[in-house]
């Protein structure tokens, strides 16, 4: 077990180092620096010098690289070239909690609903309820989320006026984006839960349970559902990570000031260092979360540490 943890740890650290290094050299290879980016403004010689020292551009590249890595180890993700004074950390502190709240709400909504729909579809196989749920999950998997977001906004906010159209002010404002973000995940989970439930029905232990004379409820609850959920656990951790990082699209459409919509804005305004700083943050977050998830599953299921 110790060997397994150590190996995962080394892989994670190398991955983070690769992401950081690649992004550092990329920013320096790209044409443009804080001085040329702001070339539209007239800069005095003094301002120019101050900017150069501010970003450390007067030092040799390797020294800049080491400083960058050192800053990263202290949790400092860098600065915007476009808007001097704005740091990636400041933006993360401002926007990430909002994305995290949205993601967490969507996650908490999608888990019970996905399982419930999957169980209903499998129990009512071939009946109307099954067809409705299968159609719902097929649509949920094949409609891109920005279309879904636009449609829900149109129907429930603009036409029916049940919810506010956009912005992020009260819990009431969070309902529609949460539903939008959760729907795709509910659809996916319904689909896999239904398939797993139907596969398990033919297992020998279900026959044994029936032969023992267990009640139908007991068979479904303690044999079928429990065994169907197990293979889905590994995906659930990663899904939480994905949702916490916020859906760029949902935030963009509902004008939510989360990390995703800020990322899109940075791309559109060609703020390279900000884009890469946020990307590095995103990368580190995902890699760390994967590491934690791997360790937990290694602890829970000994087969995983052997096969990996």
């Amino acid at each position: 077990m110790r060997k397994y943890i150590l190996r995962r740890l080394i892989i994670s650290v190398i991955t983070i180092w690769l992401i950081a290094t690649a992004s550092f050299f990329l920013v320096h290879a790209l044409p443009g620096n804080p001085i040329t980016v702001n070339s539209g403004k007239i800069l005095s010689e003094e301002t120019r010098e101050r900017l150069t020292t501010y970003y450390g551009l007067d030092k040799p590249l390797w020294e800049q690289y080491l400083t960058y890595l050192k800053n990263l180890l202290h949790g400092d993700f860098g600065y915007s070239y476009k808007y001097p004074g704005q740091s990636v950390n400041g933006i993360i502190a401002k926007t990430f909690p909002i994305s995290a709240q949205l993601g967490l709400q969507a996650y908490l909504l999608s888990i019970p609903l996905g399982f419930l729909f999957g169980i209903i579809a499998a129990r009512k196989r071939g009946k109307a309820a099954d067809y409705v749920l299968v159609a719902f999950s097929a649509l949920g998997v094949s409609v891109p989320v920005f279309i879904l977001a636009a449609l829900l906004q149109m129907v429930f906010a603009v036409k029916l006026k049940w919810f506010p159209v956009s912005l992020w002010k009260s819990f009431y404002h969070t309902i529609l984006p949460t539903i939008t973000l959760a729907l795709g995940s509910i659809a996916g989970r319904t689909r896999s839960m239904r398939t797993l439930m139907l596969e398990i029905i033919n297992e020998d232990y279900i026959k044994t349970a029936k032969a023992k004379g267990l009640s139908n409820f007991k068979i479904v609850w303690s044999h079928q559902i429990r065994n169907a959920i197990i293979p889905m656990i590994p995906m659930m951790g990663l899904e939480l990570v994905g949702m916490l990082m916020g859906s760029f699209v949902v935030e963009q459409i509902f004008a939510i000031p989360g990390i995703g919509s800020y990322f899109v804005t940075s791309i559109q305004s060609l703020d390279y260092t900000m884009v890469l700083g946020l990307t590095v943050f995103f990368g580190i977050f995902v890699v760390t979360a994967n590491f934690v998830v791997d360790i937990i599953y290694g602890l829970v299921d000994p087969r995983i540490r052997v096969t990996k």
Partner: protein, 310 residues
């Protein structure tokens, strides 16, 4: 005794088995190769045929519609902006007066090509790398698998962002990004299958006859895992189309005046509260196409599975 008699076996001693008798041993059903069987299963599957026809129609329109249309996909006509669908502009026009019928089908070319190459290119790279790792084993395998272990941890958005900053946004960038993220998964699974097969008798026989590693991997082993590869490519197509739509939406994909289904939907979202048709048309086509590819992929998976029905 008979044995003492001098007997010569003559032709008359042999009786020709009646043709009838012989026919009993004929093979009634014509032999069917694996692929002929797959084809037969697909042709008899109504859903698969419908999906195939839909795909052909979409491809046909993508090729012909822009040629036959009197409008150009990037010619603007500001006086004819935001027209609803009518007899001259079948899908209406966008904000700067470009004909949406033409744009949707030009976009279809881009989206479908991204779908196709975005799923084939990573698969081919995966087969090459996975094949080499699985066949040679040892340190080659070790190095390749460690690279994959690390590379697969990097979120795909990181690749896309870096590529986009470096090469600029566009279809080629999207395909490259898909290739960069996709090859690792398929290399892993191809490697696993190659390792299963490389010690089988027919591979050993080929090696004893002096077959080169290239021949052993690609001529002897690969045909056996072709089914898995075909499924990989078919299920990759909708994923690639989805990815293109998503990237174009957040501004990292296809840029105007060039267009794609994702780019059209993005423009549609911006104006859809006033001109909803500009979102509805591209979104219905994207969703339907992705759905059809998913269903077709599932049918193909069932048809390729030798355990399922004959």
């Amino acid at each position: 005794m008979e044995a003492n008699k001098k007997s010569i076996i003559t032709a008359a001693d042999f009786v020709r088995i009646a043709d009838k008798e012989k026919k009993k041993e004929d093979i009634v059903r014509p032999g069917m190769s694996y692929w002929a069987n797959v084809l037969r299963k697909m042709v008899t599957n109504k859903i698969a045929v419908i999906c195939f026809i839909y795909t052909m129609i979409i491809i046909g329109f993508a090729i012909l519609a822009p040629i036959l249309s009197p409008y150009n996909y990037d010619t603007t006509a500001l006086t004819e902006g935001n027209l609803s669908p009518n007899s001259t502009h079948w899908f209406g026009t966008d904000t700067v007066g470009r004909d949406l019928w033409t744009r949707v089908w030009v976009g279809a070319r881009v989206s479908l090509l991204i779908g196709l190459f975005g799923s084939i290119v990573p698969e081919i790279v995966g087969i090459l790398v996975g094949g080499i790792a699985g066949y040679f084993g040892g340190w080659v395998d070790m190095v390749i698998m460690r690279i994959i272990d690390v590379g697969i941890c990097i979120p795909s958005l990181v690749y896309v962002t870096m590529l986009m900053l470096f090469m600029g946004a566009g279809p080629v960038t999207i395909i490259l990004a898909l290739a960069l993220t996709g090859w690792m998964g398929s290399a892993r699974s191809v490697r696993g299958r190659i390792m299963q097969f490389k010690n089988r008798e027919f591979v050993l026989a080929s090696r004893a006859l002096g077959g080169s590693p290239f021949r052993l991997i690609f001529k002897d082993i690969l045909p056996n895992i072709m089914g898995q590869i075909v499924v990989g490519i078919t299920s990759g197509i909708p994923q690639a189309i989805f990815m293109e739509a998503y990237l174009s939406f957040i501004g990292m994909g296809v840029q105007s005046p060039m267009t794609s289904w994702g780019q059209l939907s993005q423009t549609g979202v911006n104006v859809f509260r006033i001109y909803p048709y500009q979102l509805y048309i591209p979104s219905i086509i994207i969703s339907l196409t992705i759905l059809v590819f998913y269903i077709f992929g599932n049918c193909l998976r069932d048809a390729l599975d030798p355990k399922l029905g004959n």
